[in-house]
Symmetry: C2
Subunit: 222 residues, 2 copies
């Protein structure tokens, strides 16, 4: 064993880092061009390597697509747990959790990562992602029910409410421009503040986010 063990990025660590970079870039391209429309050559070119090099980090295209979805779901789960911890009412938990999810997806990951088009996944990988997604939706529905019980959310159909929330969130990948004037965190906060108003039993009299108060509408056309 050498001295400075783990002081400098170690072999397996670098490997994992490169794998992450591939996944991130792939997600970006899958998102823009569609899962089938994007080619592995595109991904490789973007990273400045040859397509064959990708196969040292990923078994095949389906596996890569799976990894993209898996990372997205990991973020979704983690942020929702944060929301459940820090929110007081069911509504707050949803707003905080989903806002953090959205901010991380379009912010730190640099770009809208793709969640649409799950149907492009095949085989066992598809089943695993479906299971994760269903579990996430169940958690959200439970929070809606909790919110109805604690009086923060108006009585409504939880399934429909969750579908509406997810639609508003996922659609962001279609119009958000990371080079525009809106920062990711602002967009996430403003959008969730707005959309949770649809659920709120007593909606606030006004919207507080900077974007709603009249920030310049940036060039955000897709």
């Amino acid at each position: 064993m050498t001295r400075w063990a783990n002081a400098v990025p170690d072999r397996a660590e670098q490997q994992e880092l490169k794998r992450k970079a591939i996944i991130r870039e792939a997600a970006r391209i899958f998102s823009r061009r569609g899962c089938h429309g994007a080619t592995l050559d595109d991904v490789a070119d973007r990273l400045g390597v040859s397509k064959a090099a990708l196969y040292r980090y990923v078994r095949n295209k389906n596996d890569l697509l799976f990894a993209c979805h898996e990372e997205a779901m990991e973020i979704a789960d983690r942020t929702l747990t944060e929301g459940e911890r820090s929110g007081r009412t069911g509504l707050e938990k949803i707003r905080i959790g989903m806002s953090a999810y959205l901010a991380e997806m379009i912010g730190e990951l640099g770009v809208p990562v793709l969640i649409l088009e799950e149907n492009a996944l095949q085989g066992e990988e598809a089943e695993r992602i479906y299971a994760l997604r269903d579990a996430y939706e169940r958690r959200l529905r439970a929070l809606v029910e909790q919110g109805i019980a604690d009086g923060s959310i108006l009585p409504m159909n939880p399934k429909l409410a969750v579908f509406m929330l997810l639609g508003a969130i996922h659609w962001v990948t279609k119009w958000y421009n990371p080079d525009g004037a809106w920062r990711a965190g602002e967009v996430a906060e403003a959008l969730m503040e707005l959309v949770t108003r649809a659920l709120a039993a007593q909606p606030p009299a006004a919207l507080g986010s900077a974007i709603h108060r009249g920030a310049a509408p940036a060039g955000t056309e897709p």
Copy 2:
């Protein structure tokens, strides 16, 4: 010229009918499998003809995709005009117009038709669809501003509001199951009632749609 001219479907009319059928089926398949993932053989098989036969009604795949989007935008424009006529406030116009759009898309067209993945379109056709879509979004934004002016909508960023509305609407194609218990019109009404609550200056104390009042949650998983 024969008697009964136009009494029986005439040649050009039948041609147009078949073209519509192709477009509808294509939209269905594009929607499910993604624009690039769907093949023209799929569409042809579904219609019980050979792929080559399609080319008598459609110039190429891009043209077919264009036709799908064009029809969707035609419906969007028409229904929004209806909404503008029959609604009193800005908010009502949005709710009525978009509800009719949604109902027609997932109801009469039988199936979620695809609006996502515009980026799959290429060439001049893409520009034309972008123009239609932008015009539609501008109309919606104008209605939001009108609603803010007439007091039906809370002051907010119109761009963000429209993006949220569109997200909630378009996402329906991901989860709505035409064979489920929810009728298309009910879903459209309930969803728009819910989502417009996010904009409303004075939201109603309760939601009136059947689905919100506790209809059985159908098997609507994608």
